[in-house]
Symmetry: C2
Subunit: 140 residues, 2 copies
């Protein structure tokens, strides 16, 4: 079922399927939690004990190059990946590092900067600040 979805997604983005690629895509589609390479690796090792971390690195990079996933570099400490490639923004808490999905402002979806200097392929919007639970800790 969601195996099927993973396979279809790979095909849709012109990515040759393999056991590892399907498993990684399946994980991304089931976990919209912005996982890191390590989180994906640790989780899939149970099912694919021979999995190499290098493969996870290569595969997630491949996905993002093909537009099948988004690479999030919001947190300077770690790179995260997002299987949700529909237009949306993110919020990261400065204190705890929590990463939340945020709706894009009206009209922002369609806007692209015009320039002869470059051709845009990806748009990223994110916010940094303090999340509710961290703010409450400070106030108390």
């Amino acid at each position: 079922m969601s195996e099927r979805n993973a396979l279809d997604t790979l095909k849709h983005y012109g990515i040759h399927p393999s056991v590892q690629r399907i498993a990684i895509m399946d994980y991304l589609l089931k976990h919209y939690t912005h996982p890191t390479v390590d989180e994906v690796y640790v989780s899939l090792c149970k099912d694919i004990p021979t999995l190499s971390k290098t493969t996870v690195y290569n595969t997630l990079r491949l996905f993002s190059e093909h537009g099948a996933a988004q690479m999030l570099t919001i947190d300077e400490k770690k790179i995260c990946f997002d299987g949700n490639v529909t237009p949306h923004a993110h919020f990261m808490c400065r204190r705890c590092g929590k990463l939340l999905d945020v709706d894009l402002p009206e009209g922002a979806v369609d806007y692209l900067p015009e320039s002869k200097e470059f051709r845009v392929e990806e748009t990223h919007v994110y916010y940094k600040g303090i999340c509710k639970s961290c703010a409450e800790k400070t106030d108390a």
Copy 2:
């Protein structure tokens, strides 16, 4: 002159001045080139031979925490810093990594997402794609 500007900028953001902090801020204000820690370090070593790279790390982090500089995590390979803290977006070329300043779309400056879950302190907008010169290389 621009020493003066650096000092004033530090004071304005409530940052205690020091020889190193003034020099680093001065560099940021004179080079809107999105330099990395290393670029700042190498350049300032000529004038301050005892400068430590750790100081550059600490100082640039301090600046960005106080809003006196922006930390750019667009390129997953390196963190860049921007002394221009007025609202603007960026473009990064996927091929060559070049980083350009881009005007923000109309109205975007004032927009902030509303949520009870967090309080926004920084907004980041950036685009990824292919720059003109890289596109020409491929076409040829």
